[in-house]
Amino acid sequence: MMPPRKPSTALRDPAWLRFGLLAIALAFVAVFLVLPLVAVFAFGIEKGVAFFVSSLTDPDARAAIRLTLIVAAIAVPANTIFGVAAAWLITRFAFRGKNLLVSLIDLPFAVSPVIAGLIYVLLFGANGWLGPWLAAHDIKIIYAVPGIILATTFVTFPFVARELIPLMQAQGSEEEQAALTLGAGGWSMFWRVVLPKIGWGLVYGVILCNARAMGEFGAVSVVSGHIRGVTNTMPLHVEILYNEYQRTAAFAVASLLALIALATLVVKQLVGWRMRRVAPSEAA
């Protein structure tokens, strides 16, 4: 009879397979992830720190940074309020059409950014449905800041709701029931029980939403009109610099965007770590 094998060796890939797969995986990661990330910063500082700083403090760059911050400061809170409300609605109540609502919330993820811009042009553009009315009242949406905010809000629409729905589904409503039993009102229950409970998931959703809002290119590019200093966001400023052969300046601004991306990844790791640490004590 064969001696019983240890499970650990049975579950182990042979050494040649291990090294082979590891080598392929590392090569893939090196070429497609590490190299581009290193390149952004390397190209950004290739003309020295002084040039890097002057590329970021140039008036057009500063206007672009300001606009990006303004757009994110409106789109992200709006989507956050909606995300919390939609997640509460979907995870705490039973009603007809709930599945349809969930699908509709995800819809913007399936829409190309260019189409996200296009739909607002069709609605508010000079030849759009509301174009003549807007022109008569001297309101500019397309090729102006409101269009950029709307397009950004569309592409970042699902992020917070998507993060909260599975989390709140898993958490259940026991604590809320207890708070109500103890006589808490609706808002007091929301601020003292619900918000602390979903805290880290909410932070994560907001961070993802913000990263996309600051980095969005396609949708914003369609509605912006690329007016320097007025309707240029940071990604659009990168494009203009790059197309004008100001490569180093383009990569300097791109480095700033890449830093936001890296910060997003770090926060994701921290939040994941916090949620795993918190989860067992909640279960107890």
Binding site: A10, L11, D13, P14, L17, L21, L22, L26, V29, V31, F32, L33, L35, P36, L37, A39, V40, F82, A85, A86, W88, L89, R92, F95, L101, L104, A110, V111, S112, P113, V114, I115, I119, Y120, V121, L122, L123, G125, G128, W129, T153, F157, Q177, L180, G186, F190, G215, F217, G218, S221, M234, P235, V238, Y242, R247, A254, A261, L265, V266, Q269
Partner: protein, 277 residues
Amino acid sequence: MRRRRHALPGFGLTLGLSLAYLALIVLIPLAALALKSATIGPLAFWHAVTAPRALAAYRVTFGCAAVAGLINLVLGPLLAWVLVRYRFPGRKLIDALVDLPFALPTAVAGITLTALYASNGWLGRWIEAAGYKVAYTPTGITVALTFVSLPFLVRSVQPVLEQLEPDIEEAAATLGAGRLTTLRKVILPMLWPAILTGFALAFARAVGEYGSVIFIAGNLPMVSEIAPLLIVAKLDAYDYAGATAIAVVLLLASFVALFLINVLQLWTVRRRSAETR
């Protein structure tokens, strides 16, 4: 008897807020697209959708998205396997880095990949010395789409691998299966639903991708022009009807991909419940 449950507050408020906001930001603008396509007229719509330049753009978009999806279909699950099963220095760092294409703005990815693969770039100079060209060709488009859709396959397969029970593999080994046979005949079949879901997500994303592609693509009509760029070109020429027609085709493609995911998930759930019965 169970504790009496309170009716939670806020149904009317959250329902009203959610529906109003959804209608304002998503549904009414999308309805504008549907209305516009309805006013074009079927014949003009058909002509716009089947023009040679449009057909070439679909070919480039769907072809490159499919090839990028296939590259990730092989390398994504492989990367997920390495991340879940092997222990090596830097594993957590790589795991975190997999989300980079989600977080990095597409324009930044676009100019960086272009600079890397251009003929004087870090990678481009070696590739051109070997007689190939990546930047400003459909190959470049495929590279950009592989980058942006990389996380989908890894992140859809990874949780399935993490939850895999070791006893099935042990049983296979006990019954005399070699490790490769176990991987191929036992583990891979369990991964297929996740792999296909990841592929469909990656494809849907890649079909609509714009920012990371336009810098590296060359954007030559009939050769290296993607469908989203054709929409922008038609908009720049004030051809709203033409732009709308192409947009409808692209949207339908994404919806079909996502519909297939739902069918797939339903099928997986059914199969699981049939197995446990």
